[in-house]
Each structure stands twice: as structure tokens, then as C-alpha cells.
């Protein structure tokens, strides 16, 4: 990852991560109309377009914050393809009704496809991790929540009225439990997670 050249459009990613209103507005002005147009022409309407766009923006925010999303292709194509694929997935999910899909768009080039796939994998992982987290017992959930919010293990121990050593150990075991479940899911789905 270190040697790939970062596209100047990275400013949009950084702007999203910093919750920069001017950048968000310029994304809405420059890139959103095309998405709205596409969704409207493919069995959707403006409200649905708005939902898809917001979900993608939140996904980009998360990825940028968590992993330092590094853009190697133009934002325009990347953003459009993400929204388009998300919308197509959504109509696929809910469609027994006849749906017309306008597939006239030229397929985008490889770097864009790669970036989009990376973001989609990130999205799937996040969802899987969240799903597994909810399977944990209340004690584990509370301990993890506290130890990742507060950061000081002494404080967490105090709050939970247990020893520091216990919090340390328990934290590793709770994450370990998640690790185990995810490994099992990976084997089951043969989904490539890492």
C-alpha cells in the first residue's frame, strides 16, 4: 500500500473523515446528481437515491476513519460505481417485480473496480463484526464497549468493580471469542476476510 500513488481526489475522502461541510457539499453538487439520475432511471426515486447516497457516505467515513482509505482512482467513478452497485443489490433483494436496469454505462476501469471491491469487503466485514458482537454476552459487550471508549484500563476496572488484571484478561478473551466465531464463519462461507 505504501507505494501506490494517491489520487488528488483523496481530498474528498479526507474531507469526509474530517466532517468537512464544504467538501460534503461539493460532493453533493458535483457527484450526487449523476447518481440520482441513474437511480431514477432504474426503478428508483429521489428518496431512495438519497438513502443510498447517505449510506455510501457513511461507509466512506467509516473506512476513512478506521483504515485510512487511500484513493487510487478518481472519486467520481469510484463513488458512482459504489452507489450503483449498492442500488442494484437493493433492487435484487426486493425484486420479484419486474425491474428494468439500464446497463448502458460503460464498465469502469480496473483501478476503480479494485477500489470499489475493497470498500465493499470493508463494508461486509464491518457488518459481520457488528453481528458477532451482538452475539456476545452482556458482560463481554459492556467490558469491550467501556475499554474501547475509555481507554484507561484502570478506570474500566474501577467502573466494573473488578481488578485490572481481570479486565485485561477478559478483554482478550472476549475478542478471542469473536475471533473464533469469525474464523468459523469464514470456513463456512469460504469468504475471504483477511
Amino acid at each position: 500500500m505504501a507505494t501506490t500513488t494517491i489520487h488528488p481526489d483523496q481530498i474528498y475522502i479526507d474531507g469526509l473523515a474530517n466532517n468537512d461541510s464544504a467538501i460534503i457539499q461539493s460532493i453533493y453538487k458535483k457527484f450526487v446528481p449523476k447518481v440520482v439520475h441513474y437511480i431514477r432511471n432504474n426503478s428508483g426515486d429521489e428518496d431512495k437515491a438519497q438513502d443510498v447516497i447517505q449510506e455510501i457516505m457513511i461507509l466512506l467515513f467509516n473506512q476513512a476513519k478506521a483504515k485510512k482509505l487511500q484513493l487510487t482512482c478518481p472519486f467520481d467513478a469510484y463513488f458512482f460505481l459504489l452507489c450503483k452497485r449498492k442500488w442494484l443489490n437493493e433492487i435484487k433483494k426486493s425484486s420479484n417485480k419486474g425491474v428494468t436496469i439500464d446497463e448502458d454505462f460503460p464498465s469502469s476501469n480496473e483501478p476503480t473496480e479494485e477500489m470499489v471491491t475493497e470498500t465493499e469487503v470493508f463494508d461486509e466485514k464491518q457488518k459481520l463484526f457488528d453481528l458477532m458482537f451482538l452475539k456476545l454476552g452482556d458482560k463481554c459487550q459492556e467490558l469491550l464497549k467501556l475499554s474501547f471508549t475509555i481507554k484507561s484500563m484502570e478506570e474500566v476496572a474501577e467502573k466494573l468493580n473488578v481488578t485490572y488484571g481481570y479486565v485485561r484478561k477478559k478483554k482478550s478473551l472476549c475478542v478471542g471469542q469473536l475471533t473464533q466465531w469469525i474464523q468459523e464463519t469464514n470456513r463456512f462461507k469460504s469468504l475471504k476476510i483477511t
Partner: protein, 240 residues
Amino acid sequence: MNEEHYILFGQYLENELSAEERTNFEKQLAEDQELASAFEIFKELNLHLEHKFGNITELNAFKKNLKSISKELFKTKKSKVVAFKPWQYAIAASVALLVGLFVFQNINPSYDDYNNTEMATFIERGDVNVNLKLAQDAFNAKNYKAAIPHFEAVLNSTKSPEIQYFYAVSLLEDNQFQKAETNLSELKSGTSIFKNKAIWYLALTKLKQKDYKSCKKILLTIPDDYEDYDQVQQLLNELD
């Protein structure tokens, strides 16, 4: 993996292992694929949870901001594209028709809508014709009355269709219709590039005097390859 492994993962990430334990663990990772893949997931989960809980306030602020920007921009867009139902189109059309009837029954096209005079640019660098310079400046400042005597002075020494044309326009602006028409008619019967322009201005002379019939008659004599023919057409439509 058993509990010991996960505790070891945690200790490694928190930098709680001795140098020896560290090297040992890293050696194990290199040899045991299963262990390595478990450790990768463990690491990633830590990052995920760190982000999930560590950035929760920022995420909520972002969502809020996003919603308000989206709402604002979509609202302004929506108000522009109000979808009309067919019967609404009918109403809108009849309203437009009524308005149109009112407007066009009572108001005739006016000279002021059409007298888009162009800039006069006679003078070139180094030119020393004082009158011409004064005429040009006055004309471009729309001070037509002042321009007229200067134009006359120039025309007395050298007569050119261009100067005559601008002179005629000034006369018309100054409501000296008779004189304007004489000059324009002269240009009309000539062969200069101002020929069609002169006919157009002859029509405008009639328009300014509210002689719509004559205006129309003259307009109809302008050939359709005239450079500003769309103006001719527009005026003809308004006169009908």
C-alpha cells in the same frame, strides 16, 4: 485456538511481552498458518472496535451534518422539479394563454426593445480626426444629440456608409425622423454592408413613430440572410 492464545495475542498487542516472549511468538506466527490467521482477525477486530466505540461521537456528528446537507440540497432541487399532472398542464397552459392575450392585446412592441445599437469603433490608434473621435465618444456614451454635429462635420469632408449609418442611428435616437429616413434610404439604395442594417433601422423608425403597418411592410423586404434576421422575425411575430 484456546484461551491462552487469545491472552497472548492481547499481551503482544499491548506490548506486555518480554523480548524473548516476543520473538518466540513471532516465530510461532511464521510457522503456524492457523495461528497467524487467527491473530490477523484478532488484530482487525481490535481496530474495528476501537473505531466503532472510539469514534462514536464523531460518527454521530457526521451523520447529523450529512442529513442536514442532503436535506437542504435535495429540497431546493425538488422544488424546481414539481411534477405536473396532465390536467395541471392544461390549467397552466390556459393561464399562460390568458396572460398572453392580456399582454399582447394592449401592448405593442416598442422601439426600446429593439434599438440595440452597436458600439462605434472608427478610430484607430494614431488617428487624428478630432470630429470623428468626438462623434464616436458621444455616440458610445449614448449622447446622440452631441454626436450629430460631429458626424455632420466628418460627413462634410468625407462621406462613408459607415459614418452615415451611425449618423442616421443618432438622428433616429434624437427623434429627427425625417433626416434619419433620408440617410437610411440613401444607404438602402447603396451596396455597402450597411444596406440591410439601414432597412432594419428604417423599420425601427416607423416603429418608434408607432406606424406599425409601415414597419411591418419594411421588415418584409429584409432578405433572410440578414445577420440579425432573428430580430426581424421576432418583431414581425410581435406585430402580428
